[in-house]
Amino acid sequence: MADDRMERLRREGRIAIVGASLAGLRAAETLRAEGFTGELTLIGDEPYEPYDRPPLSKGVLMGLASPEHTDLPQRWEIDAKWRLGVAATGLDLPGRRVLLADGDDVEYDRLLIATGTRARPWPNEAEAALDGVLVLRTRDDAVRLQQRLKAGPRRVFVIGAGFAGCEIASACREKGIAVTVAERAGAPLVGALGGVIGAVSADLMTENGVDLRTHVTVTALEGDSVGRVRAVHLSDESVVEADVVVVSLGSLRNTEWLTGSGLGAGPRGIACDAGCRAFDFRGIVTDDVFVAGDVARSPHALFGYQFLSLEHWGNAVAQAETAAHNMICLPADRRPHLWMPAFWSSQFGVNIKSVGVPPMGDDLMIVQGSLAERRFVGVYGHQGRMVAAVSFDNTRWLEFYQRQIERGAPFPVEFPTVDRRPEGRQPVAADFPDPSLPTHAPGVTLSGYSPADQQLVFTPARH
């Protein structure tokens, strides 16, 4: 009987996808590829067909591609109803309807939520509204930033040295534009890779002519008489004149539209099970609502079933494919989302890649190459296990370390490795900031406790 129902769903069911970007598109393609022939609706608040974001801070700013031309190739004919330029404003969970900003609604048998994140805006609204103050998340943002860079600004000021901030600074330097980067932590990329690797990135930046200011926060953005930004004030009381300010302080998850819907959605994203099914606010898993991409938080078997939010391109693709598969198959055929976290970045001509979950690591060993040469592989360890690896211009080795992480290989690393230097024989502290302090765009957020965490004590409330 269940088989009949599933067959009918696959043949003539209605599937709605909210968020028409990377995860939404890949899910739609997978649904069709796996034989879904029913009605498919893609709802996206941006007026564009799905486009790719990573080039927006790299090739586009370097002038290799137009910001308007990063559309994602479509691997399958998805034959969907596109509702572009219209936001979903609510979800009627019992009625199985998505409510739209234009007053319409879309009924579904299965729903996929892939609303991703948006750029965290500069908190002072008046300052954020100054002409020349920008963020970078969308195509429109990239068009604006590219125009500013083309106009030959005197100085660009980047607030926040996460990956995006560093990439923007790199593009500026490549174009000969003066750039200052301010970071609250002691070095760039510390939230994602820790202080040891952050120091390498700091050297790379200064050597390339970036004016890097660490251990500072921006206290105010100053405008001129016609409302254009002209200077940035820092907590060390210095003032830097700049005519373009890029706020690169990480992202906020797009979950507000689900407020009051009964789904377990909030600022940390939407929690789901390993099969991508969303939890409702009681912590009970739903059967018809799925989540994928940057907006999802899901438990990962390899990392103690901790809930991970992974703001990574590869995660959006893999999770969308798993979610789509699970949406239209029988329970016994469902798959868990077991993707090994991985990301890349390129800046100042260096290829940075990582697998696993670096911020989970306490210690770090440089197992190949050397930090000084900026060509190395570093391995992160946690409780005697390898949990992540990072490479600078050494990508070909990463797959090997990925297998080790999958196997739960012991840490410190004892096996001999090619090009191991004396500095790599002993682990050092990876030097991540206190997780309770905010950092700029860690890319991975460990949210929630690990069930394996013995320190957790359940204290019932006394009434």
């Binding site: 080039p55 090739g59 479509q74 990301f343 890349w344 001509g349 290829n351 070909r396 090619v418």
Partner: protein, 96 residues
């Protein structure tokens, strides 16, 4: 024609940059940058790059060659023979 490179998969082998230099460029030693919407006249070259990439990291649509399209549509599992061979090469070089 639209294309995207899965840069998690990409190993910086630069075959694509060799075959379609106006579309793919190496930025530094192993970082790849590319034009996601190349001109139509690049089609031949892009098709060759897609086919030549040893880890099938490039996905493109709007290519004429149907065989290439079928290959990439699989989602591009890494052929088992590719990576070990390359690792051996690197080992040999580094072990010298």
């Amino acid at each position: 024609m639209r294309l995207v490179v899965d840069l998690n998969k990409c190993q910086g082998y630069a075959q694509c940059a060799f075959l379609a230099p106006d579309v793919f460029v190496m930025h530094g030693e192993e970082a790849l940058a590319y034009d996601p919407r190349p001109d139509a006249e690049q089609r031949e070259r892009v098709a060759r790059a897609v086919a030549a990439c040893p880890v099938q990291a490039i996905t493109a649509d709007g290519l004429d060659a149907p065989s290439v399209r079928a290959e990439t549509a699989e989602g591009g599992a890494v052929p088992a023979t590719v990576t070990p061979r390359e690792v051996v090469t690197v080992e040999a070089r580094d072990g010298r």
